[in-house]
């Protein structure tokens, strides 16, 4: 599989979201930025496949570019 799975895939999405916000609790912006970076690296290694990661990067960047365009 070379495409990023964007269909619903969480076994418990609400719990993940709460845990994500909780992980940033009491952190400064700088620390939050660092946490996000480390999270990206850990998850990227878990995914591993270059094509999937590339697709994720493209989709994330595209969504920013689209917002800027409107």
């Amino acid at each position: 599989m070379s495409a990023l799975n964007v269909e619903p895939n969480f076994d418990d999405g609400d719990a993940f979201y709460a845990a994500l916000i909780d992980a940033h609790r009491d952190l400064s912006d700088v620390q939050s930025n660092t946490l996000n970076a480390r999270l990206v690296l850990l998850l990227a290694n878990h995914i591993g496949k270059g094509a999937v990661l590339r697709d994720a990067l493209d989709k994330a960047r595209q969504s920013i570019d689209e917002e800027n365009a409107t």
Partner: protein, 540 residues
Amino acid sequence: MSSGRQNPVYAYRHSADQDAASPRHHTVVIVGAGPSGLTAAIALAECGIDSVVLDDNDTVSTGSRAICFAKRTLEIWDRLGCAGPMLEKGVVWQLGKVFFRDAQVYQFNLQPEGGHKMPAFINLQQYYVEEFLVDRIGQLPRVDLRWKNRVTRVESRAEGVRLEVETPEGRYPLSCDYLLAADGANSLVRESVGAVARGQEFHDQFLICDISMHADFPTERWFWFDPPFHPGHSVLLHRQPDNVWRVDFQIGADADAAKALRMENIRPRINAMLGADRTWDLEWASAYTFRCRKLDQLVHGRVLFIGDSAHQVSPFGARGANGAVQGVENLVWKLARVIRGGAPAALLSTYQAERQPAAAENLLHSTRATDFITPKSPISHVFRDSVLRLAKRYPFARALVNSGRLSSPCRYDDSPLNTADADRFAPLARPGSPCPDAAIAVGGKSGWLLELLGGSFVLLVAGPSVPGELRKIDDLKVLELDVDFTDAAGDVARRYDLVGGAAYLVRPDQHIAARWRSLDSAAVGRALRRALGCELKEVV
């Protein structure tokens, strides 16, 4: 405690060419006597081709400059009869350590498997390398090496190249069939033919200090990111012969290089690193920035670009001089055969086809390492530091730490000179790859497979019998397993799968052209013609 090293000075000599009534003509002229130009002259001489080498200076490199020489480069120099003194003088190293702030993040070991004549790397100052190459040239009457001969003008025409040379006794003209431009990063030849090197310029400045000391540091490559003694920047420490150590400080884009080079500023920097109680002497210091750039075309008519004039990289990864020597090795056997009439001129176009991807690969790795070492934005800094933090704990992140991806030999996988595999083989020694070395025995004495390969094409066969017509082909040497050599340690079987009638066709530069499970004279003939460029379209 200074190493006491003094560079040799080579005398300017008057050439009869300077008295000629009309410009003297030579087959090959090489501009520049650095590692590329000197290696090219030696390799051409080994092929029976005369050359004239012109250099504007009268000595070897000032300062250590390139210091890391890779296994493949040493194998090439060994083939050319000059690796002996380099190995004797050089420092063998294989362990690298990476530090972030005050702690070691991880270490790597480059120790190759056994059964290779050459080590993974040696460290040796460029001035020694050049001196040993000049010494080798002294044994080769085919090389006319002219010091204090500065090329001032180059004119490339369809039928040949004309140049003007300035000497202490005045100017003289020359002409040649082929010009090898080995005149470095600021190549005059490149400018003269209107070639443009394109790529990226980096603004970060670095300060190299070669210091001599009697230290008890182990012979390892140490790389620091953001160490306490030099916060916010990187530092590299690497050992060279003569108890000389290379210390390379990143000093940033805004640093005042002239000020950084003053001894009163170098001393506290190094003392902060080594401790004030160590005694050391400064051998050489230099501040530099660098570019990663290359030519899109390495061949411009009869002008062929080699070394830094063709491609320039950052120092991280030891890809400059190593890439250069491997490029020269790729070019010379082709040029020699075109000159001797054993191959069509189109063969020269494969120097571009094979080495352009190699140059691009070196440039890519070198640029990526530079971006990791000197992050360009706040977020890339955050990611870089995060990788280093995670690397201490998690092995996956170590793969992302990039203090220079060290030079490894290029495989010409997509070369038009390869004959694709029709039979099943292990991928290691596939067509386009450099031949892996192997411990062998010749007449009961231990030796190395690479000592038997190169110079001409070689047909490496494992019985049962070699058709007589294959032994009559010019430029093809037959090498039979268990007749000419034995597989003393099983390396040949393991690395080549050379068993039961299998055969390999090996190019003069020790790269593999073709291989078969069983020997067929017609197939060998076709692969040989293909490897000589006979099936390429003629260049216009």
